[in-house]
Amino acid sequence: MTILQVKGVTKRFGNFKALSGVDFNINKGEVFGFIGPNGAGKSTTIKILLGILKPTSGSATIFGLDAWKNSVEIHKKIAYVPGDANLWPNLTGGEVIDLFLKLRGSFDPVKRDQLIKRFQLDPTKKCRTYSKGNRQKVALVSAFASDAELFILDEPTSGLDPLMEKVFQDCVAEAKQEGKSVLLSSHILSEVERLCDRVGIIRQGTIIETGSLTELRHLTRTNLIAETKKPMPALANMPGVHNLQSVDNGVSFQVDTETMDAVMKLISSAGVIRLESTPPTLEDLFMRHYETKGSDAV
């Protein structure tokens, strides 16, 4: 069942076109990753979904209701975490959490306190004294302590340390288990990869790919650096191996996911001294996207 639908949404700021014809939808119980580089239009899309910005054309609906016209009705069932939580310097974190939870609707006070502990937040401090990460925690606690059905998270982990990022990922996983839906935006591919069922990739205001990660496998190549006892001349002729280069004592190349197994066998038969792999970055993915586009056109 589709609970969120964005159809042909265009947004102009004066002459500048921030979004042009954005389309995607999220099904119930799904974690949807919304990825794109800075300035791609993620926050603009999310603000349209929240009824803070009015789309120039196209429609955005949540729970079947229009995001602009019925925003109050919709917001009773959603929780939002902005990328940069702006809080009132004179209120404490605890007060802001209570306020946010109350303004949305019902919440679980026990869960609130548990989450404060898990995120290691001191709720008695005034917001003015909080670091960016701590402000982010306030927003996260008030989102996850709510009984919302849809979580809209706009680069929610900026400023969190790795330990807290883990807590955040657990929270998303728990929400998913409870059958809730999540829209998670990020500019880091590996972050959404772990959590998301499906992703949409946005660039310069246009969605360029949507699908499950397995569907997008054709776009993800892993970067490998291998140093082996024996040289591996076979590598050069293997399909699915790209950009082969020799670096100090070894080779560096990219592998299509489908070819990974064969490549690993070849490397291990050559006797591994050193093997490094880095996940594909968003830039790799874009490059690959335009390569495929190019070959399709031919």
């Binding site: 959603i78 902005p82 939580a85 809080l87 306020l99 949305r104 008695t124």
Partner: protein, 534 residues
């Protein structure tokens, strides 16, 4: 404080000058125009000695002394004496406001926006931005002083000689520099731009009050007010430069204080440390209206005290006024006996109109607080919950309506209590309240206009201040310069009946309230239908 702390100052000065060139130029040119036009019109309006002496007699009373400062050179009330008497104090206040806003924006304001953090990461010293903003402030005040001097000297009116015109300009510039440096100190103590501006305005208001009390009683108290000093120059009559020394010496001391605090504190903090607060919010906070009230309560209380004080100080003058009128044969003759209203009563309506315009200031500030919230990206987080645009905007609008009215009531109450204490035959609270509360619909029209401007586009809210300023000058200068009636009728305050001299016209008041409602309704609709900045 080593030399490194100041590196990059030159670059920043150029940056600030560039960013503020229009703002500074606009301020200076308007103040020059105001000064020049007023002096020129006074010279034209009161052209014979007899007319000027008659004017001197009406000006020489405690109410005027409290409002504009002591009259001097009364024996020969020439255009110079008249200009200084009517305009110096008010222009000095405007200059102080200009300096306060400037320094607050470039110290605490930048720090709040996080600009300072970015500057701090660049190769600029930690004192560079304070040095730069102070330098720009002093530069603009010096230019202002020269500009004002020129704007008077070019009129070549015999009683406005060049040397005195320079002193007139210098008195204004020195006042501006004093309040600019004062703001720099408050920028170190407070931890927000609002707090900085608020504290500075509070001291400005207190300085005005202390001076008023001192001038009326003709004692040394005025020497304790920085606004008393420029008046002590007796410019155009005695031309004393000495009183500017305490202003500039004070500015030097304040500058040193600001720098030593700035050198030792952390960026982003104030001197006042924060204590641990509550884990859970009180129930009263947990609604849009509750939040609005919570965010504004300090400012509501501060303004309430200020309006009460203004009422009290005007009220104490009324008592003096009565004694003065009874002792002055000329003036008791001037009272229109047939109307049956005393001059005191006639003064009351004018005081009420001025107090209502002062009350409109906090009313608009309470409404425009929402603009600050939007700019800081805090309305977005509220609207992401189940809160409608009407509810939040309505909360701010309601706070403005209610507390705008309360401010007026407090001023009336202050006026009444002081008057009752000093008058032999006190005016009843009822009749004072009637004379004052008729102005409430005009305050509401200002709020409605503010709501329309902000609802339509946050960048337009400045127009509300321009309009209020216009209304003020239409009343203040209108009587003096004998403007035609329609000038006053362009502001809502011009429609208010002067109770008790005039009958209360219910229809006019109802129409004003309806206008306020209509403007607000338009504001609400446009606000509902526009994009929010954050």
């Amino acid at each position: 404080m080593n030399k490194q702390s100041f590196s990059g100052t030159g670059q920043l000065i150029r940056f600030y000058l560039k960013a503020d060139r229009i703002r500074i130029t606009a301020w200076i040119l308007s103040l020059m125009a105001l000064t020049s036009v007023t002096a020129w019109s006074l010279d034209g309006l009161y052209s014979s000695d007899a007319e000027r002496q008659a004017m001197a007699t009406t000006m020489e009373n405690p109410a005027m002394t409290a409002m504009v400062g002591p009259a001097y050179g009364i024996e020969n009330y020439h255009t110079g004496a008249m200009t200084a008497h009517q305009m110096l104090l008010f222009t000095a206040i405007l200059v102080a406001v200009m300096a306060i806003l400037h320094v607050s924006r470039h110290t605490r304001g930048d720090e709040e926006d996080g600009k300072m953090e970015m500057l701090g990461a660049l190769p600029v010293g930690r004192l560079a931005s304070l040095t730069a903003s102070m330098s720009v402030m002093v530069m603009s005040q010096v230019i202002l002083a020269l500009g004002i001097a020129v704007s008077l000297a070019v009129l070549s009116i015999p009683s406005l000689p060049v040397s005195s015109s320079i002193l007139y300009g210098a008195a204004l510039g020195a006042t501006g520099i004093f309040f600019g440096t004062l703001t720099a100190v408050f920028a170190q103590l407070a931890d927000s731009a609002r707090g900085t501006t608020g504290l500075s305005f509070l001291v400005l208001g207190a300085a005005y009050m202390i001076r008023a009390a001192g001038d009326v009683n003709n004692d040394t108290l005025s020497w304790f007010s920085p606004l008393g000093w420029p008046l002590k120059t007796q410019v155009f009559v005695d031309d004393k430069w000495m009183p500017l020394i305490p202003l500039l010496a004070g500015a030097v001391v304040l500058t040193l204080v600001a720098f030593s605090v700035m050198a030792s504190r952390d960026i982003g903090t104030g001197l006042i440390p924060s204590r641990p607060g509550r884990n859970h919010a009180r129930k009263s906070l947990l609604s849009p209206f509750g939040l609005t009230m919570h965010l504004q309560k300090t400012s509501i209380i501060t303004w309430g005290v200020a309006l009460l004080a203004i009422g009290l100080s005007y009220g104490s003058v009324i008592g003096d006024l009565e004694t003065f009128f009874s002792s002055s044969e000329l003036l008791s003759g001037a009272v229109d006996q047939s109307s049956g209203f005393s001059l005191t009563e006639q003064f009351i309506s004018m005081l009420m109109s001025i107090m209502s315009m002062i009350a409109a200031v906090p009313a608009l500030l309470f409404l425009f607080k929402l603009k600050g919230e939007e700019k800081k990206g805090r309305t977005e987080t509220v609207y992401a919950r189940a809160v409608s645009r009407y509810t939040l905007f309505g909360s701010y609008f309601l706070v403005a309506l209610i507390f705008g009215t309360v401010m007026m009531l407090l001023a009336i109450f202050g006026l009444w209590s002081a008057a009752a204490a000093t008058m032999e035959d006190p005016i009843s609270f009822g009749s004072l309240a009637k004379a004052g509360l008729v102005y409430v619909p005009a305050i509401w029209v200002m709020i409605g206009f503010g709501a329309l401007l902000y609802g339509f586009k946050p960048g337009l809210t400045g127009l509300a201040w321009v309009y209020l300023g216009y209304a003020f000058f239409a009343v203040y200068l209108g009587g003096l310069l004998q403007f035609p009636e329609w000038v006053n009728r362009l502001s809502p305050f011009g429609f208010i009946p002067e109770v008790p001299m005039e009958e209360i016209n219910v229809l006019t008041l109802v129409l004003l309230v309806l206008t306020a409602g209509l403007l607000a309704a338009l504001g609400f609709t446009t606000y509902r239908n526009r994009d929010l900045a954050g």
